[in-house]
């Protein structure tokens, strides 16, 4: 408890006092989403201040971002394309963070997922002219398996040898990028270029624009089938985390591993399992990006989706359904932010959101009240 009442030596007293107390009851249910929203607002205000200091027009910049990310069906569709990988990596981070397993390796698992999906086309695992549904199924499967394998390694190391997963998952990211580069530069390089051949069209994930023949309204819309995968994944994950026995185990381990052990729940097994599921989700993100957007195996497929996923998971308070909304917001920021400035402000806003979120925890733990100073 702290007390910031002013101790004045003269007769005048500061008329208000701010009182900060530890919460002795559960915070109200609405507080958590309100704080997330407030974090975004604060970040936008700070961003506005920076734009203004740089001689720009904050309002104009923000209306521009809004217009070019959500203003029409076309740009909304592009926003969704950006949001799809964010949703999946956000989910990947959410499940791991629920267990206080700090998987910051979603980036690497994303890359391996992309590699796994590419294997199906380039090895090839499916024949060139296999039907589309087979490609969707098998590339998704391989993306998830490879992502899960990349999650298994740090999970196993932590369970068996108590290796810090923050460091191991981070390092695994670099390995993943170089692993992919080996295939991009060497094995599958197309006539010396640092990319594979373009995948055949029947391997691509279906897009809205594929429906344009029947419904011209969808013409030119690039939103792909990954959106369905992401939403289904979010719903399943929500069911698992909030309704299942396993979800309860994850919650218990996350809050108090020793209590979980005492209740007979295997922590080691769950560390490995959660890391694998987390990796599989990030892998699915990589698969959907490769099969839905890039359509060939190449490098630099992620502008740090894996790391943005961390912020999204926190903004959504680790709630899988809220991850969808948070991802759309970030998708908009990434897409239209580029319109304003290639780097800088949009990234700054993301960063400030994270800081504001962490800071907002203070209000979650403490009750702050402002009262009129009483004359003694």
């Amino acid at each position: 408890m702290a007390d910031f009442s002013s101790k004045s030596t003269s007769g005048w007293k500061f008329p208000f006092r701010i009182k900060i107390e530890n919460r002795v009851d559960n915070p109200p249910r609405w507080l958590s989403p309100v704080l997330s929203l407030a974090a975004v607002v604060v970040a936008l205000l700070i961003g506005a201040l920076v734009i203004w200091l740089g001689g720009g027009k904050p309002w104009a910049a923000y209306t521009h971002i809004a217009k070019y990310s959500l203003g029409s069906v076309g740009v909304l569709s592009d926003t969704m394309v950006k949001a799809i990988p964010l949703m999946l990596v956000g989910l990947a981070c959410s499940i791991a963070f629920r267990m206080k397993l700090w998987n910051i390796g979603a980036e690497g698992q994303f890359y391996l997922g992309a590699f796994g999906a590419s294997l199906v086309v380039l090895l090839p695992i499916l024949p060139m002219e296999a039907p589309k549904w087979q490609f969707i199924l098998v590339t998704a499967l391989f993306g998830m398996i490879l992502g899960a394998a990349w999650g298994f390694i740090p999970g196993f190391l932590k369970a068996r040898y108590n290796v810090n997963e923050i460091i191991s998952t981070l390092m695994m990211n670099y390995i993943a990028i170089e692993w992919n580069n080996y295939f991009i530069y060497g094995v599958w390089s197309e006539s010396g270029f640092q990319m594979s051949r373009m995948f055949q069209r029947n391997a691509w994930l279906p897009r809205l624009s594929d429906l344009a023949k029947r419904w011209p309204f969808f013409g030119g819309l690039t939103t792909h089938f990954g959106l369905v995968l992401a939403i289904v994944a979010a719903i399943i994950l929500w069911l698992v985390l909030s309704k299942s026995k396993w979800g309860y185990e994850i919650r218990l381990i996350g809050d108090n591993p020793r209590a979980a052990e005492y209740a007979g729940i295997s922590i080691k097994k769950n560390i490995v399992l959660v890391m694998m599921v987390s990796g599989a989700l990030a892998g699915l993100a990589g698969m959907s990006e490769i099969m839905g957007v890039v359509h060939r195996f190449q490098g630099a497929i992620s502008p740090g989706y894996g790391y943005t996923g961390i912020i999204i998971a926190w903004l959504a308070k680790l709630n899988p359904l809220a991850v969808i909304l948070a991802s759309i917001l970030f998708g908009a920021l990434i897409l239209a932010g580029r319109e304003v400035q290639p780097a800088g402000i949009p990234t700054l806003i993301q960063g400030v959101i994270m800081v504001a979120l962490i800071a907002s925890d203070f209000f979650y733990r403490n009750r702050v009240s402002i009262t009129r100073q009483v004359e003694d």
Binding site: D25, K243, S244, G247, A259, A263, G264
Partner: protein, 512 residues
Amino acid sequence: MNTLDHVVQMRSISKRFPGVIANDQVDFDLRKGEVHALLGENGAGKSTLMNVLAGLYRAESGSIFVQDKQVNFGSPREAIDAGIGMVHQHFMLVPSQSVTENILLGLTEPRFRMRLPEFNKKVAVLAEQYGLHVDPEAKIWQLSVGEQQRVEILKMLYRGADVLIMDEPTAVLAPTEISELFNTLRSMTEQGKSIVFISHKLQEVMEISDRVTVLQKGKVTSSGINTKDVSRADLAHLMVGREVIFRVEKKAVQAGETVLDVKDLKAFNDKGIQSLDGVSLNVREGEIVGLAGVAGNGQNELAEALAGLREVTEGSISVNEKDVTNKPVKLGIRHGISLIPADRTHVGTAPNLSVTDNVIMKNYDQSPISKGWRVISSEADSYASDLKEAYDIIVPSIDTSVRLLSGGNLQKVILAREISSEPKFMIAVQPTRGLDVGAIEGVQKLLLSQRESGAAILLISEELEELLTLSDRIYVIYEGEIMGEISDGDINKIGEMMTGTPLELIEAEGVK
């Protein structure tokens, strides 16, 4: 202020915490060269008052005078500069460093080069002066709890403390160590130091203190009375505001079949040191068997081994003739083994989860709470509501996080969970520690009712009084070995066994 012999005077000290008034207009004074006991139940505000004096907390109102000068400490350092040092219940020592290094920690002298041999001598001289035997070069982790406490005292003396506040110093000590501590305290008062002795143990207060101040729910019920003028019963009355029932009613129960049978059990502790060295014991139906011993003699390891939480290197554990040695925890739970852990917040509960989530910890995967892959939340909620009613858990709602519960209510959550699983064998480790008298009575009654319904209970406690009250038989453990078994409640024999004399030896020497 004219009272020359007063080293400390505290006047109308008030300190609030959210929801409670820890100290309400408390007066306290300390004379030079006395041991002044501060007596009260857990949560009476003893430690809070002394934390205010030691500069850890700031009081909302009231004034403090040290050597007749008004002071207003903003930090423990300011307090120690004024000659007031506090030895906390939980020691603040660096385990990997030596005694001398710990004592010098945070001081400006020596400045850069440690010059340890020189300071080792200084520490040794100081230790000699007050009879605080400890090797200055020893590393903290090598020391017993009693020795570590001496280091804490030395730390304060080295910093020139004239007033020493001891926060429940005997809680962690063996009986012999307690008498050594008392000798030290006496030698310190003879040399002009003044001591505040915080305790809730009546017999110790009677033994060591010159005067006593009693706190009850943040208020002084008796201020600075001479110890020799009061009786133990008087103090008990002042402490709790009602006559203490020292005995709960215990019905005669015929012990039945052997439930727990432990043979020659060996296990290591977390540091890889042998902490159970051939323990054999048994518990029968309808019986409470006590396990006495000073903290850290293998009790926790035994409890963990029995619950399947610690690997056993040798020996066997069977419950109702089923072997459960080194079997998964869940198997033990299914065989009716239940553990009430010593550490309620770090082991027994998940603090940020709701009451519901905490009470279903052991049966979340059993029907009717679970169906298939799901946890049925309506079933879980009604189960939690039933327990809340039955065990009178005082909590606004079953959705409340258990970290917001008081110690007594938290223990009720654990007991409700463990008892409702209808265990055949229950291990209760320090089930009443840190609870107030009312809650203690409640917990003890629950254990007795379990005994009456035929459960086998192993009660591990450091409170001899509790063991004697509840147990049908008592084993004593010392350094991982059972020293003997007693069923007549001979407290002298228990005391001797607690310090490492096997029962055969005691009996061979004959009754003195």
